[in-house]
Every structure is written in C-alpha cells, then in structure tokens.
C-alpha cells in the first residue's frame, strides 16, 4: 500500500465531503471514514466515478448497542488502479433502520445488503430483491443483534417431527 497515494485520495475525499466527514481513522493503515448518513449516495457516486473505487468487496454491519445511532454499516471498497482499500461507515438509528441501497453503483452489493438485512434487520431502500439470505423467511428475529441469545429462541425455527413407528 502506497501511503502517498492514500493521503492524496483522502485529501480529495476531505475536500469533497467537507463538514460531513465525521471521523477518520488511519491507525491500521486502511482508512476508516465515517460520513453523515444523508451523504451516503453522494459519497458512493464520488468514490466510484471519480476516485475509481470500482470493486465493492463486502458490507459489514455492526451493532454498537448504544441508545442512539445503534447500528453501523461499513462499506469495504477497493480501488484496483490505486491499489487502495477504503472503509466507509454510516450510522443508523434503531427506530428507523433504513439506508439507501448502493446496488445501483455496485451490483455486488446485492447479496451483501441482504446479509446485513438478515443479520441486523437494517432495510435498504430501493434494493431489487430484499429477502433474508441465510435464515428462512418465517424466522422473526435478527440474530447478530446483541440482545439475541446465542442459543436462539426455542421454537423459532421449525424442525421435522418424529413420531414413533406404530406398526
């Protein structure tokens, strides 16, 4: 990773975002940027079209378990031309966990957003096919939220019955 190129890119982002760039963490070489939720679409467009972050590797959801801005969604972007990684964060509150989708920029966001929805219950507005990806549709809980018990809720997932053989 070339530190000089990284700093140039960050300078560009800083100029573009201005006040809306809330936080920047460079402790472990990969930049982690937190931006305002409303500017997510803008930032994504800028990152993809201007700074060439064409490869969306994954979307990470986290549960901060705080009263405000409970969830955090992290977009992991890669610029192949500049050999850079970038982590872009937005925070979502618990009452209205909705974010605009980024599937219109990166097709690969499709399954990743579905995974975040499945695990945390964060909905993505405008997603073409927002279904649960791992768990069955009739499961009512979001397992990676911190209040969900590790062993699950008894009876929440159906199991085939066994009755003894009568004959």
């Amino acid at each position: 990773m070339n530190i000089e190129i990284r700093d140039n890119l960050l300078q560009d982002i800083r100029e573009f975002m201005g006040e809306d760039l809330l936080e920047m963490n460079l402790e472990y070489t990969h930049p982690l940027l937190r931006i305002k939720r409303d500017r997510l679409h803008d930032a994504c467009r800028f990152l993809k079209n201007t700074l060439h972050f064409i490869y969306l590797n994954e979307i990470i959801g986290t549960d901060r378990f705080t009263s405000e801005d409970r969830f955090e969604v992290i977009y992991h972007l890669i610029s192949l031309r500049n050999r850079q990684r970038l982590f872009l964060k937005v925070r979502v509150e618990e009452e209205y966990p909705v974010l605009p989708t980024v599937t219109d920029f990166w097709k690969s966001a499709n399954w990743n957003e579905r995974e975040v929805f499945d695990m945390f219950g964060i909905r993505f507005e405008g997603h073409p096919d927002l279904r649960r990806i791992f768990l069955p549709e009739d499961f009512k809980y979001y397992p990676l939220r911190k209040e969900f018990p590790l062993l699950g809720v008894p009876g929440s997932l159906e199991m085939p019955n066994t009755t003894p053989d009568h004959d």
Partner: protein, 160 residues
C-alpha cells in the same frame, strides 16, 4: 452363514433368512448426506486409500431409492433438517442411519442458534461416530458395525 450340513460336493443348506441377511450385510450402499467438513472425510473413505468397496459399500448412491444406509456428515441446520428428513423418508426399508462426527451426533462445537443439536432429534440413528471430523477408519468401523447389526437384528419377518 449357517452351513448346517454339506450334502456331497457343491451343496449346502441354509435358511432364506440367513442368506438374505448375508446379502444385505455385504452390500450396504451408502447415501452420502454430505453437509460439511465430514463430507470430505467421507469422500476420503470412498477414495483410493481407504476404499470403501472392500466392505461391500461399493458405490455411493446419490439417489435415496438405491441406498441402504444414510451417512449424515456434518452439522445439520434447521433449514436443512427438512430436506434430510425428506430424503430419509424416500429411502426404502430396511434402512440404517449413521451420524458421522460430533456435529451430527450432538451438535458438537456448533452450539448455536442455527444448528440442530444432534440429528437424532428427527432421525433414528443407528450408529454415532465420534471425532471432528472422524478419520476414515472410524467410518469403516461404523459400516462394519452396521453389518453386524444387520446380521444380528434384521430378519425377513420385519420386512413386511
């Protein structure tokens, strides 16, 4: 085989029951319900070094209709359990089931919301193999134990 009396050269007598049991025990065709890592060891069990064919488990049949013993290899999730049960129901009698590995037997290390804690919750398991994953030798052992079970406990009378 009950070889009661040899009546001259080329003859022997036995019961139909014993003959059937002998035939069944030596042609146990597995239905590989390969779910997770144990499935790879199950492939090794069928592969060149361990060679399941030596013990009559000649071919792995992916069709439940053609198989006698189902080897559930790997952790079984609630979502998958319905499919496993359905495949099991499609297998013709008589049939046997082996729970291969810790996950299939008890849930093992995957004590979590998604995993059924042991396939015996919905399948009648005949033999449990320990290990995570078990070595192919243990699967051969399980097949031999199933053969013993067929020879000792099965009878044509039970088939009707």
């Amino acid at each position: 085989m009950s070889l009661d009396r040899v009546m001259g050269e080329g003859y022997f007598t036995t019961t139909v029951d014993a003959l059937t049991k002998w035939g069944r025990a030596n042609s146990v065709w597995p239905m590989p319900m390969g779910l997770a890592c144990c499935a790879i060891e199950m492939m090794a069990f069928a592969g060149p070094k361990y060679d399941a064919a030596r013990f009559g488990s000649e071919v792995f049949r992916f069709s439940p209709r053609q198989s006698d013993v189902m080897i559930v290899a790997g952790w079984c999730t609630y979502k998958m359990s319905h499919a496993i049960r359905r495949v099991w129901d499609q297998m013709p009698d008589p049939k046997w089931c082996i729970a291969m590995g810790a996950c299939a037997s008890t849930g093992g290390m995957h004590r979590c919301y998604g995993v059924v804690q042991g396939v015996d919750n919905f399948l009648p398991v005949d033999y449990y193999i320990s290990g995570c994953p078990p070595r192919p030798e243990s699967i051969i052992n399980a097949i031999l134990k199933i053969q013993d079970k067929i020879k000792e406990q099965q009878s044509l009378k039970l088939d009707s």
